[in-house]
Subunit: 560 residues, 2 copies
Amino acid sequence: MSVKAKAIYTFLSENKEEISIQENEELVIFDENSVDGWFQGENSRGERGLFPASYVEIIRTRSNSNVTDCSISPAGSLGNDSSYFPSTPSTPLHLQPSYYDDDDDDWDDWDDRSTVVDDADPVRSPGANGHAQQSPLSNNPNVHYRAKSVSGQDSISSSRKGSMVGRNLNRFSSFVRSGVEAFVLGDVPMMAKIAESYSIEMVPHGPQWKESPQPFACSIEDPTKQTKFKGIKTYISYRVTPSHTGRPVYRRYKHFDWLYNRLLHKFTVISVPHLPEKQATGRFEEDFIEKRKRRLILWMNHMTSHPVLSQYEGFEHFLMCADDKQWKLGKRRAEKDEMVGAHFMLTLQIPNEHQDLQDVEERIDNFKVFAKKMDDSVLQLTNVASELVRKHLGGFRKEFQRLGNSFQSISQAFMLDPPNRSDTLNNAISHTGRTYENIGEMFAEQPKYDLFHMLDKLSLYQGLLANFPDIIHLQKGAFAKVKESQRMSDEGKMDQDEADGIRKRCRTVGFALQAEVSHFHQRREVDFKDMMQAYLKEQIAFYQRVVQQLERTLRMYDCL
Amino acid sequence: MSVKAKAIYTFLSENKEEISIQENEELVIFDENSVDGWFQGENSRGERGLFPASYVEIIRTRSNSNVTDCSISPAGSLGNDSSYFPSTPSTPLHLQPSYYDDDDDDWDDWDDRSTVVDDADPVRSPGANGHAQQSPLSNNPNVHYRAKSVSGQDSISSSRKGSMVGRNLNRFSSFVRSGVEAFVLGDVPMMAKIAESYSIEMVPHGPQWKESPQPFACSIEDPTKQTKFKGIKTYISYRVTPSHTGRPVYRRYKHFDWLYNRLLHKFTVISVPHLPEKQATGRFEEDFIEKRKRRLILWMNHMTSHPVLSQYEGFEHFLMCADDKQWKLGKRRAEKDEMVGAHFMLTLQIPNEHQDLQDVEERIDNFKVFAKKMDDSVLQLTNVASELVRKHLGGFRKEFQRLGNSFQSISQAFMLDPPNRSDTLNNAISHTGRTYENIGEMFAEQPKYDLFHMLDKLSLYQGLLANFPDIIHLQKGAFAKVKESQRMSDEGKMDQDEADGIRKRCRTVGFALQAEVSHFHQRREVDFKDMMQAYLKEQIAFYQRVVQQLERTLRMYDCL
């Protein structure tokens, strides 16, 4: 059923299936249920196509006043404008757009509503969280799990664009909110039966996560374009193959996003790196697909390398479930998991070794200083490397190509006075021209082999580092509670038992944070060594190729 | 004796010994005899120092009305302002400023009056020729040889800045003016005795200059700073050593300039490349001295390679004379040489072979098209190479240094969390940083080894090519005369004998031009082959050094 709407932001179409809309422009929406965060409709100039749901406001009239803003609610009216989709869909069921599916738990569409809000273009960024907060949630009771988790968490991946702009300000905006305070204060009841258990062990340099008993790796390959909406909207499916099963499953970006949000929700003191960013337009441009694949691989490597994250049941489900029905069951199970946030702390087994809390605090302070400096320098290197990419594609290429052109031009001049020309010299000069044109192209191609990979890894680390200020904040809060409770106990205002309980639980928080820091350092060392080696190897190979090209060219002058 | 003067152009001081003067500003000149083209004086703000003589006009009062504008006349009053030079000079005679020398033929200063006019700054360029024409010549009878040659010729080198701005529009501005018309028309009387003789011989691909019986080379080395004027003005002396004598002589730039002007004056149909440009300020900056030396060497190589120019008596004098008295004699002899311009044509011995004039004209037309295209492409390559130098010194260096800095910054961050740090990795990353900083420096240094030499050679060729349009114009004029005279003869308006004479002399012009074209092509082939080979070799060496640096750096990661 068509409804009227008004554009609240200007949106400029960048793909042929999209249409541009102006702020305050009146629009007609053919189906008020957004798909992948997009509405289909018509603008005031009569153009028909897609535009982002979050950029418009549906105008409520009496006749449809019972429908709330559905830009974040895919379930609801099944209305469809038949003039836009003239024929009854004959698409096979498994490829049919999800708005034919009454299940709000639908795997295809429920969480893609923020597709556009992570675009870097300021015109396009009303803000994921802002939007989620402005929009009244659907009153459909089936979506309650989203209502619980939506306040700034479900869309975190979308609002992160690196450590500067993407710092997760909401996740641990307070010690209280995270549940860690409740845990430390003993307000989180022990569960009767806790199936999960993650151990921290003590090694010479401090606490660390106990290795997973069944370590594995996971490949991500073969991003394949799939279409839906009769080809109007497309998406990419990745083949995901865990090494311990060897059986591939196929996942979309939003499945990763679902997993990511589960992880954020559950693992209080663990730094879960954000996913590679989405891209609103030109999503299927080859370079972008390639880049997202590379970054998903790095993200996945971090996941499988992490002793805690790699053992998470929801992750296992993501990696192994190939059956649609089973998928939904496992997904619901993961979403109903109670051992999240504060409760997750109950699953931790800590060593018996005594650690002076003062020492722990000092270690954490050191790490804090380190993390800040590393975050700054990773950002600096990211900026420099990005600029270098730009130079490779622009300035460097241009300079060498111009040099090549000029040599060509010299050789063309030399061919103009036939009785006095030396074809051998002219050919050599012309070849030199082509060589430099080619070297220009090599410069433009080179970032694919080195700088892109460096930027991928730096992006992962930006994501990891962005979480630490909040995680450290938790630990600080817990330590403050210990001091407070000790003072109260000293003043006789609190049982010593209770104060001891707080101290004991605070130890858990400290151990967990130290284990996470230790894991971070281990990975950092491996990752940066690999990154630097790979970069240098590619750089050497590059300059060697340049030398070879020039040597071959120089030989053309020998026979003169 | 001090005289009053008025600034006719604004001059901005750029060195500490200079003072700025404003157009129309009243000035006091301490000694109206300029030295090296500079006056010493005081401006209206009481500042004392040097400013270019050609920028001011001396204000004549009754008391010194017998003195003409001396800005181009170094001989004259010996007056000296003792407040500026407080003590009687105790400088040894051979270093004393020339204004103590009554001889207008003085070797040190007479022709440096155009020191500043070749500066690219438009504020500073009233134009050498313009100035020479505006200034009334000294009425000193000793300077008559300059009066003869001054109209646009003596200062040509100064006004040339490359083929675009420096085309010699005056030298052959008309067929008539060059004297070639007179020669073709038989108006140049045969001399009783012609000592000089240059032969043109016929080889399969056409006429060419007969090789010099005594070919030689000449080195230019060891530019040494000399001072005069009690150290206020300095100049550079070069050691010039011809291979056939092995005995060095010492020459200043202005000696080269004198020689250059003699060559222009004498060799009508030969392309004499301009000298490397002067530089008004910062003349003694090391890079500039080095650049001028390199370009003087190339200029000299062209001179010694040229069968006609290398045999010129004035050149021999320039290369061999080491005695002051002999120098002056030889200089005067060269200046009194009558076999210049049109008369030079009389010294040419041409082969007996018949050449169809139509064919010759066609060849010349081909060459004209070639020369235009070559001039364009040499200019293009010059611009591209100059920009590439700028990029090497700026953008390239900056990018690599920034990358190096960022690696250093990463390594500094990694040193901040001591229990978790790997010194080996940190050292390797820090070393990588230094390597890239170093590579940045290598990029900045590299033009010295390759692009500078390319630009030097291109500049020589810009100079050579700039002369051809005028030289070709001479030949065109001669051919027109042949056609005209033949028509007149056919119409009975001219004796056939006279028409035959014109045709014969036109053959000489054609042979000479073809010989010069042939020589140009021979040199071009050698020079451009050398240029390209040298460039490629240095480029290979450069990228190999980069590879070596990177390989050494990569090995630091091996022990991790």
